[in-house]
Symmetry: C2
Subunit: 342 residues, 2 copies
C-alpha cells in the first residue's frame, strides 16, 4: 500500500531491489536512466520505487562538513567475480548516498598495512570497507585509535561490524550433498598453497567439509586435496592432477564456482561425463553457474556489498548499526553437475 507518512521508515534502495526482484546495482542504474538495464526491468523498478515512495538519499550535504566525501574499499584482487560484485553492489549504495569510492588492490600484507596507515593518518577517506582481508592486531589498533569507521566482509573481526556468511556451514553443506548422493571418494579443490594474506574463508570451508565427512565416517584422503587458487585456470590444473591419480575421485567440491568451471572443462577434455562419470559442485552462484548447469552453494553476493555499505553509512552518520555482524544465509542450488556415483 503506497504511503507518504513521513514518520514511517523510509524505503531503502534494497527495498526497491527486493520488491522488483533485481539487484541494488540494477535499481541504481534504472533510476538514473543508465545503460545495461532492459526497458522492462527499468519500468518495473520505477513502478516499485514509486509504490514504496523511495527517494535517493538527500543527506549528501553532510559532505560539506570537513570530510573527504569519500569511502575506501580494499580488495585482494580486482579481476575476480566475487570481489567485483561486492564492489559494484557497495558502490551503488554509496553513489546513492553521495559518496565517492576509492578502491585499493591489496596483493599482500605490506600493502594492507600501508592502506591502513594512509587511511588513518592522511584521512583520504572518511571510512573503509576491508573486503575479505583479515587484519593483524596492530592494524586494527591503528584504525581504532584513529577512529576510522571500519566495516569488514568475509573475514570476521571482533573489533568492527561486518557482513559474513557461515563458511563452516558451506563446507558441511557440500559434504552432505555429495555424501548424500552416495559418494565416498570426494575431492576438495581449495585455495592456494602459499597464502601471505591468511584468508580465513577457505580454512573454514575446509573444516566444515572435513568434519561432516568425519561425522559420516567417510575417509578424506589427503591426496584428494588440490590447490586451485580461486581461478578458472587453477581449477582446471587441480582437476587434471586429480584425474591422474591411481584412484581418482567420483565427486569434487570446488571452493568457488570459477574453480568448478575449470574443473568441468578438464573433466570434459578427459572424456568424462559430468555428472555421469564425475560430480562437480562449487560455491558462489556465479552469473554463469546456470549456463554450466552447475550445482553450487549460493552466498547471495549481490546482497553482501549493499549490506556492507549500509553498515558503513550508519557508522558515518554516528548511528550504531542495529546488527553489528550481519550474516547472509547460504543456500544449496541443485542443478545438473552432481548425481549418484556409477
Amino acid at each position: 500500500m503506497p504511503t507518504t507518512d513521513p514518520s514511517e521508515r523510509r524505503a531503502t534502495i534494497e527495498d526497491v531491489a527486493e520488491a522488483a526482484g533485481v539487484s541494488v546495482a540494477t535499481v541504481s542504474r534504472a533510476l538514473r536512466d543508465l545503460p545495461n538495464v532492459a526497458t522492462s526491468t527499468r519500468l518495473r523498478v520505477e513502478q516499485f520505487a514509486q509504490q514504496l515512495n523511495y527517494r535517493a538519499d538527500p543527506n549528501a550535504s553532510r559532505l560539506a562538513a570537513g570530510r573527504s566525501g569519500a569511502v575506501a574499499m580494499a580488495v585482494p584482487v580486482f579481476n575476480s567475480w566475487y570481489f567485483s560484485e561486492i564492489v559494484a553492489g557497495a558502490e551503488a549504495v554509496f553513489a546513492d548516498a553521495g559518496y565517492d569510492v576509492l578502491i585499493s588492490a591489496i596483493p599482500g600484507p605490506h600493502r594492507r598495512a600501508l592502506f591502513v596507515s594512509q587511511t588513518a593518518y592522511q584521512r583520504r577517506a572518511d571510512g573503509i570497507i576491508m573486503v575479505d582481508l583479515a587484519m593483524g592486531q596492530g592494524e586494527r589498533d591503528v584504525l581504532l585509535r584513529a577512529g576510522v569507521p571500519t566495516v569488514t566482509t568475509g573475514a570476521k573481526s571482533a573489533d568492527f561490524p561486518g557482513v559474513i556468511i557461515d563458511n563452516v556451514a558451506v563446507g558441511r553443506t557440500a559434504a552432505t550433498h555429495l555424501a548424500g548422493l552416495g559418494h565416498q571418494r570426494i575431492a576438495l579443490i581449495a585455495g592456494q598453497n602459499e597464502d601471505p594474506l591468511h584468508f580465513t574463508v577457505p580454512e573454514d570451508r575446509q573444516r566444515g567439509f572435513e568434519r561432516e565427512l568425519e561425522a559420516r565416517e567417510i575417509f578424506f584422503d589427503p591426496s584428494l586435496e588440490a590447490a586451485g587458487n580461486f581461478s578458472v585456470a587453477g581449477g582446471y590444473e587441480a582437476m587434471v592432477g586429480l584425474l591422474k591419480l591411481d584412484h581418482p575421485p567420483t565427486a569434487v567440491f570446488a571452493m568457488s564456482d570459477e574453480m568448478a568451471f575449470g574443473a568441468i572443462q578438464a573433466a570434459r577434455e578427459y572424456g568424462l561425463g559430468v555428472p555421469e562419470d564425475l560430480s562437480i559442485m562449487g560455491v558462489d552462484d556465479h552469473d554463469l553457474a546456470a549456463a554450466f548447469g552447475l550445482t553450487t552453494i549460493s552466498q547471495q553476493v549481490d546482497h553482501q556489498g549493499p549490506l556492507a555499505a549500509r553498515l558503513l553509512l550508519a557508522l558515518l552518520d554516528d548511528h550504531q548499526p542495529d546488527e553489528l555482524m550481519v550474516e547472509v544465509p547460504t543456500v544449496l542450488v541443485e542443478r545438473t553437475t552432481t548425481g549418484p556415483p556409477v
Copy 2:
C-alpha cells in the same frame, strides 16, 4: 643473454610477462610473492626476471615532489569481465611504479562530468585513464586546460593518447567467419537500446559487420538485431527473442563473450545443438571462453591495461610516448561453437 649494461633499455614488467608467457598482473604478483600464482609459474617468472635483469621501478621517490602519488581510472561499471581485467592489468603496472590507483564507476554523463571536474580542479590524482568513456568536447577542454595527463582506452580520442583496437575490423572478421561457413541468416546481439554514455565500440563493431555482409550481398534482416546489454542475462534474453522468430537465424554474432555465453545457454534450453543447429561466436576471449568451446575474437585484454598504464606513466614523467595511439591486434580464435549451417 643476461646483461647488466646500464645503457641498455631497462626490461619492463611487460618484457618479463611476454618471456614467461603470462599476464603482467601475474608477474607483479609472482615477484611480490603473493597468492593466486602457481608455484611453477612463480619459478618461471623469477627465472625470466633474473635473465632479463628486471627490477621494479625505483622512481617512486618522484612522488615526494608535491604530487598526490595517485592516478585515477574511470570505468563504466566494475562487475564486467572486460573492465575488471583492464583495471587489474593497469593497477599492477601502477603499483610497480609506486602509484596508488583511485577507481570511479561512471554510470552516466553526469558522473563523468563530475569525475573530470574533480580531477581537474581538486587534483586528487596526477593523471587519469578513461576506460571506454567517450568525453564531450567541454570535458576534454577542461582536462587540456588544467594540464591533466590523460589516457583513453576503447573510445578513440584525438586529444589524448590511447589504447585502441580496430572495432570495425572485429565486426568484419565475425561476418567473414560466419558467412565463410555458409550462413546467410546471421543475427547480431548488440549493446543496449538506450545508451546515455554514447559507447562507440558497439557502433563500430556493427558497422564492420553490416558492411562485410553487404559486400558479400548477404541481406541483414533488421529483425535479427537484438540488444544484449553486454551481460550474460542480456545475451540469454536476446537469444530467446531471436529463437521465437518465424525465421530464426542459423548463426549469431554476439558483441561480447558474456552475451555469447547467455546465448549458448538459451539455445541449449531450447534443445538446439551448438553448432549443429546454431552457430554462436563472441568477442573478448574471456577466461571462460575455452570452457564453453566458444569461437571468439580475442582482443588481448590482458595487454590493454598495462599498455594504457605505460602511456600514462610516460606522460607523468614528461615523456612524449613513442606512439600516441597504440593499437592492439585482434585475432579470430576458432573453437567448437561455430560450424556450417544444416
